[in-house]
């Protein structure tokens, strides 16, 4: 039986997913609630975040009847209140905070670091919003947690008249240990750009970035110590996101971390595997496929009993060749999951 790990009781999470914005004229989304639920599933997973369920606080637009303008800024921001309140009371909250936010969002016109999620009751002339990055930065500045992981799957387009309002917390002036707080901030889009959602092969609509991010959490290669670090996730995501985009054009995500004090998301002995469908064309029967890794080391010889076969490969670069023919191809996994050689 696999060893059952104790939950990470000092890890906490805030999860926000908003699909509907009936007043502001923005189209309804189908992905954010799914994204929030998928991320919560990873958080609960003993092989993933391994958080006890009571440490995951979430607000989803699907928690209220359709058309009820839920959540408003206060309803979403209340998730942060406890941690800010506890700081004033002198309580150390925990080791790590995850903040996940998905929905329509925007970037501040004058401060490139600020990104907010529109609240469900946003209107054109009253763009109510949740100042997510402001809260996260407050928590970092005040070292409420040792580590902060922020994931925002939302647009960061700039609407010049819309500024992100500072929440009504008190800012402490005294020096705190913010520099020691490890952080990993991942945005689906860089400032000024849009994030995208699409329907995936399983029939569900998801944010492309969230799908790619959760996949990276599950399959990204660990370092030599078996740690899946923020840098490993970043490297993996920058190379895998295109494979999740389908026909949609996505621009590079924006991921910030301090590699000198990286966060360990999970540990595993080796990377997860991804199915790669290989078609042989032409196929005369009985060809042998030779697979070499990125150092030209032969890692597999497979006799093809049909014109199509599936190889389970870890993320990386490979050279695939048909033995005794000149046919060969360089492939990137997961970017090339359907190849013909």
């Amino acid at each position: 039986m696999p060893e059952k790990l104790m939950p990470n009781s000092k890890h906490h999470a805030i999860v926000i997913g908003i699909n509907d914005y009936p007043l502001i004229g923005l189209p309804s989304l189908k992905g954010p609630v799914n994204d929030a639920n998928d991320f919560c599933a990873w958080l609960r997973d003993p092989a993933g975040g391994n958080l006890p369920p009571e440490n995951i606080r979430r607000v989803l637009s699907s928690d209220a009847p359709s058309g009820s303008l839920f959540p408003t800024p206060n309803q979403a921001e209340s998730l942060f209140e406890r941690f800010i309140g506890d700081y004033y009371d002198g309580k150390k909250e925990g080791e790590r905070l995850y903040v996940f936010a998905s929905g329509h969002g925007f970037g501040d016109p004058s401060d490139i670091s600020k990104t907010a999620l529109y609240a469900a009751n946003a209107r054109k002339m009253l763009p109510w919003h949740v100042a997510v990055t402001n809260y996260v930065e407050w928590l970092r500045r005040h070292a409420v947690f040792d580590e902060i992981v922020l994931i925002m799957d939302c647009c960061r387009t700039v609407n010049l008249p819309y500024e992100i309002r500072e929440p009504q917390y008190v800012t402490c002036q005294e020096s705190v240990n913010a520099d020691s707080v490890r952080y990993f901030y991942a945005f689906a889009a860089r400032r000024g750009n849009a994030s995208r959602e699409r329907t995936f092969a399983d029939g569900r609509v998801s944010g492309i970035f969230t799908r790619a991010f959760i996949d990276a959490l599950k399959v990204a290669a660990p370092d030599s110590q078996g740690n899946v670090t923020g840098q490993r996730l970043k490297d993996h995501l920058h190379n895998s996101i295109g494979s999740f985009a389908g026909d949609v054009t996505v621009k590079p995500p924006d991921i910030a971390l301090d590699s000198t004090q990286d966060i360990i998301f999970c540990t595993r002995k080796k990377a997860g595997v991804i199915p790669v469908n290989v078609s042989l064309a032409p196929y005369s029967g009985g060809e042998t496929i030779i697979l070499r890794d990125g150092n030209f080391k032969e890692i597999r010889q497979v006799r093809a009993n049909a014109s199509q076969l599936t190889l389970e490969l870890e993320p990386g670069l490979y050279k695939i060749a048909v033995k005794d023919t000149g046919r060969q191809k360089l492939i990137e996994v997961p970017d090339n999951d359907q190849i013909t050689v």
């Binding site: 502001i24 004229g25 016109p109 004058s110 490139i112 054109k124 763009p127 700039v158 609407n159 010049l160 008249p161 819309y162 860089r190 400032r191 000024g192 750009n193 290669a221 490297d235 993996h236 920058h238 190379n239 621009k251 590079p252 890794d293 990125g294 150092n295 030209f296 993320p315 990386g316 670069l317 490979y318 050279k319 360089l330 492939i331 990137e332 970017d335």
Partner: protein, 370 residues
């Protein structure tokens, strides 16, 4: 105990098609092993590598096989198909009819309002809804007097472009777009003696929230300069260079290294807008050495006529006095900071002084709501 002999190292050079494109090299585990602009050099063991070429927010990847039988391998990357308002070949937004029209109309004076410099506008649409990119467009002097509108230019709905070439006195002009009734925004455009200032914009759904109309997108417009008589010629090196620098500035990328600056400076006389963009990219990079190199090559008369260069480059002599507004938001910020520290003066009663209200925070151009 002796160390085992390490694997053979091959000198790998990866070159981008554009000297101002970013280049990243990763190994087969997606670990970045080299990064640079224009090209990168790395000593690598035989194996598979991935090169990524990036312009602004667009990137193209290539897989590279480095064999054991070469001492040195050079890989030439493909051009990155970026998007731009300028009808440049080898870009995502190139349309042949737009390139031809821009070439032709930039040689035609549509309206004479002065002499010595030209202001050429070329706005275009790529979608059916954007087939009238001239809607809401007007050119004014700094007093607000209307100088020209769509009726003075070429409005071609079938090919979705608007062209207007004005002969004007060297100076600064206000280019306005009415996004919706009563919502007018302006950028400022400098013209120089002997030069044609070219403004390119794509008609896009208004950047104002809730406004569905398609209008020329001023916040991400392109501004180029060409010597009078040459018109728009996308084969000129400085056209692509200026555009790459503009995209670097727009997206906050550090894209100007020594080799890139050398290629920029190879063209003489230095193109004024290329100099403006280069100066501001270097300002962002806080690279004093390359800035000093740039200063040596910029014509002093051009600097004096362009507030964007005065704001960005170290000036010798007296306190700079700003009478005319700059084009770039970063210049505006520099001017305001310098004025606050009494290191620059703003001429009383000038447009610059009046501008303090209504300036919007944009990543590129100084944009004002009228």
């Amino acid at each position: 105990m002796t160390k085992s002999r390490s694997k053979r190292q091959i000198a790998l050079t990866v070159r981008a098609a554009d000297c101002l494109a970013e280049v990243f090299l990763v190994n087969s585990r997606f670990e970045r092993i080299a990064a640079g602009v224009g090209s990168v050099d790395a000593a690598v063991t035989p194996g598979l590598y991935k090169a990524r070429f990036r312009v602004g927010q667009v990137q193209t990847d290539s897989l590279i096989e480095v064999g054991a039988d070469a001492e040195h391998m050079v890989f030439e990357g493909p051009p990155v198909q970026f998007d731009t308002p300028v009808p440049l070949p080898q870009t995502m937004t190139w349309r042949q009819e737009h390139e031809q029209a821009a070439r032709k109309e930039s040689h035609t004076i549509h309206c004479r309002l002065g002499s010595g410099s030209q202001l050429f506008l070329f706005f275009r649409g790529l979608a059916e809804a954007a087939s009238r990119p001239w809607l809401g467009v007007s050119v004014h002097d700094l007093d607000g007097t209307l100088l020209a509108g769509p009726e003075q230019g070429i409005c071609d709905e079938r090919s979705a472009f608007f062209a207007l070439n004005l002969e004007v006195d060297p100076g600064c002009y206000s280019l306005r777009v009415e996004e919706e009734p009563g919502e007018v925004y302006e950028i400022f455009v400098s013209t120089l003696s002997g030069w044609q200032t070219q403004v390119f914009a794509l008609a896009e759904q208004s950047w104002l929230p809730g406004v569905g109309a398609f209008r020329a997108a001023l916040p991400v417009a392109s501004v180029l300069t060409a010597a009078i008589g040459t018109g728009f010629d996308p084969s000129v090196v400085s056209v692509r260079q200026s555009e790459l620098l503009r995209l670097g500035l727009l997206h906050g990328r550090n894209i100007l290294a020594k080799a890139g600056l050398d290629s920029v400076l190879a063209e003489q006389p230095l193109n004024p807008m290329t100099a403006v963009f280069a100066a501001h990219v270097l300002l962002r990079q806080e690279d004093a050495a390359l800035t000093a190199e740039l200063v040596k090559h910029v014509d002093r008369c051009v600097v004096a006529a362009m507030p964007d260069l005065v704001a960005a480059l170290p000036v010798s002599g007296g306190l700079p006095v700003f009478v005319l507004p700059p084009m770039l938001r970063s210049s505006w910020q520099r001017i305001m900071e310098a004025a606050g520290k009494e290191k620059a003066a703003i001429s009383p009663g000038s447009v610059v002084e009046q501008l303090k209200d209504g300036v919007l925070n944009t990543p590129l151009w100084l944009l004002r709501r009228r």
